[in-house]
Symmetry: C2
Subunit: 147 residues, 2 copies
DNA sequence: ATCCCTGCAAACGCTTTGCACATGA
DNA sequence: TCATGTGCAAAGCGTTTGCAGGGAT
């Protein structure tokens, strides 16, 4: 129930965005949005493509790239570059801003949230007289376990 | 004077690294090191390639990629992904660890250093029982001037 | 009926790789 | 000598683009 209500709300956000931008409300766009919001982990375009084509929806990579662009612009998806050659994404609505630790030996990605980041951003805004819209912070680590 | 002494020291670091790793001390490797340490700004492989081939040294892109790999491993160069599709690099010896602000409307990159980052890293190490080897932090901003 | 969107495949751009030749050790 | 390094061009690979057909409005 909460889940469905959340999904409705996300869909509304996207619908509003498309309306305001005079973009068409195509079934592909909504099925991509749906699929992304059914995922709990980070994903890349290719795995999303595989996943969608194995099940109900048939979409092209081009349309996925295109739609993700719109989702980024509407704030429904965040983009990450964890250090591989490809981009990864994650849903961002109902999902607090957070940063990532990449455990290099296992490939695992952990999330954390530290208020000091926002303090740093505020200070840097003042130092350089700029407006900081966004940031990306990745910590690269090795686990102590394997020692 | 100080400059030459510094360059010698950098050269020594690289020489020692190559010796320990049983890699050959080729003229190409040292001319690439030299060129990189003569630059004050961030650079990408292609601009380095252009710059070197316009002057004294003739090296291939393959050799530049190969050598930068060694320089990364020996800690003489740092790699950055500012959000473009290509990688940028900078010399790192005699150059404090710092982070970057990317001013999106001008493409300018500013550097800063904030001690709170290290505090965050220490805390996260304890939280997850990991060893953090490295981090990357980019702040994306727009300048207040143009308003 | 428009004209934007989609799917397909080709093009792109940075990076890596394969191979023949050159060279440091 | 001979394994490693270099240069060149081709291949890789994620992403973008061009174009013809299809569907939202």
């Amino acid at each position: 129930m909460t889940k469905n209500k959340n999904n409705d709300q996300v869909k509304d956000v996207f619908t509003n965005y498309l309306t305001h931008k005079n973009h068409r409300k195509t079934p592909e766009r909504f099925s991509i949005l749906n699929e992304i919001y059914s995922l709990e982990e980070h994903f890349d375009v290719d795995s999303l493509y595989e996943k969608m084509n194995k099940k109900n929806y048939r979409v092209s990579r081009a349309t996925i790239y295109n739609t993700i662009e719109l989702l980024l612009e509407s704030g429904l998806v965040r983009k990450h570059q964890f250090g591989d050659s490809f981009s990864q994404y994650e849903k961002s609505y109902f999902n607090n801003q957070h940063d990532h630790v990449i455990i290099k030996d296992t490939g695992e990605v952990k999330e954390f949230c530290d208020p000091r980041i926002e303090l740093i951003k505020k200070d840097i805004e003042n130092v350089f007289d700029i407006k900081i819209d966004d940031h990306s912070l990745y910590l690269y680590a090795t686990s102590n376990k394997k020692k």
